[in-house]
Amino acid sequence: MSFLFGGGRPQLSSAEKIAAAETEVEMISDMFNRLSQSCTKKCIPPEYREPDLNKGESVCLDRCVSKFFEVNLKVSEKMQGEAAQRGGAGGGMSGFGM
């Protein structure tokens, strides 16, 4: 999340460091919630004939997570590229993993 917090910022107070860690967790959890919402909608039809995930649904969920990460990475790269062009700070927001 150095893209957001400015990797090289000198000294943060305790409260600031905790807030930053909290923000990071919030962002990861927000992304997981959105991914869950999108992938459930795309992979699990609303009929519920059986209580288990069938093979097709399982594989679809796995691939859906992969593709969601890839989209997140593409978007993140694109936005860093544009921030850099405008003379931005650099650093890197590399998706979920900070």
């Binding site: 459930t40 209580p51 995930l53 969920l61």
Partner: protein, 90 residues
């Protein structure tokens, strides 16, 4: 999360516990709403009929299994991404 000292860690943990509780409640509410939306569409009666109830039960099972699977994949991908030096070409 890395640069926190012991007392900062404790404070952080405390806040995370509150957040986890909220996450659990959000998950629970999503589950109720989703299974209601998908399974209950007849309002000529005021109680669930057997078919609706069966649908809700299967929906809950499937939803929980789906969430678990999504959670596992998410963690794997997230770990992989952090290990890879985070960004390609860095």
């Amino acid at each position: 999360m890395d640069g926190l000292n012991a007392s900062e860690q404790r404070e952080f943990q405390g806040r995370m516990e509150k957040k986890q509780m909220k996450e659990f409640m959000t998950m629970y509410s999503n589950l109720v709403q989703r299974c209601f939306d998908d399974c209950v569409n007849d309002f000529t009666t005021k109680s669930l009929h057997a078919k609706e109830e069966g649908c809700v039960m299967k929906c809950v099972d499937k939803y929980l299994k789906g969430s678990e699977r999504l959670g596992q994949r998410f963690q794997e991908q997230n770990a992989a991404m952090m290990q890879s030096g985070q960004l390609p070409g860095r």
